[in-house]
């Protein structure tokens, strides 16, 4: 049973567009929701993360929107650039730093010039 469901599997946008990637979770005990960015040939790197006591978090052009009642969270990339082309993974964990991350299946984003 997949505990974190991510969509879409792939996404193509034009430069300047706003791609949105969605994730849904089942376990209400989850208390930490990060997004990781992975470029080809590299390991994932933390992009931005949110805890369930806030509904939105912005860091630069990246925004997480969090809907606790719907058990959903999403990543928005403002003014997307070709350099944002990568695979994005959402994840969830509980227990603060003691919990293991459970990853979604990933979304391959391509930003066309």
């Amino acid at each position: 049973q997949q505990q974190v469901k991510q969509s879409p599997q792939s996404l193509i946008v034009q430069k300047g567009g706003i791609p949105i990637i969605n994730c849904a979770y089942e376990n209400t005990a989850f208390d930490y929701f990060p997004w990781y960015q992975q470029f080809p040939g590299k390991g994932p790197a933390l992009l931005i993360a949110i805890r369930p006591d806030v509904s939105e978090k912005k860091e630069g052009r990246f925004t997480i929107s969090f809907n606790k009642s719907a058990k959903q969270f999403s990543l928005h990339i403002m003014d997307s650039q070709p350099g944002d082309s990568a695979t994005y993974f959402c994840a969830a964990s509980y227990g603060g730093s003691q919990g293991n991350l459970i990853f979604g299946k990933g979304t391959k984003l391509s930003v066309k010039p």
Partner: protein, 116 residues
């Protein structure tokens, strides 16, 4: 600067060989992880460790084994490699324990293993 190293980056090996994938981190992190990732797919946790002499199995069953004799070092071993073990193996580390600690995992670049 946070650094986590994996060697080798690429390995092509024949069936039945014993292999060890190396992972080292310089951040003093107590918790370390091994993930298996097929191309374009999600990460599956196969092993993790809370510190020296601690090893735990992850969500995905794996024939590999791990050891943690030193805080900074977390090698993964396959006693007899098979084609089904062909995959990318990613090592990661994070802080552990205490209030306010971040759960950010830092990943190495991965080892791409091909078993012929």
């Amino acid at each position: 600067e946070a650094d986590i190293y994996q060697t080798p980056r690429y390995l092509v090996i024949g069936t039945g060989k014993k292999i060890t994938l190396e992972c080292s981190q310089t951040m003093g992190h107590d918790k370390m992880y091994w993930y298996q990732q097929d191309p374009g797919m999600e990460l599956h946790l196969i092993h993790y460790s809370y510190g020296v002499n601690s090893t735990e199995k992850g969500d995905l069953s794996s024939e590999s084994t791990v050891s943690r004799i030193r805080t900074e070092h977390f090698p993964l071993t396959l006693e007899s490699a098979r084609p089904s073990h062909t995959s990318q193996y990613l090592c990661a580390s994070s802080e552990y324990g205490g209030s306010g600690k971040r759960n950010e995992q830092f990943f190495g670049p991965g080892t791409r293993l091909t078993v012929l």
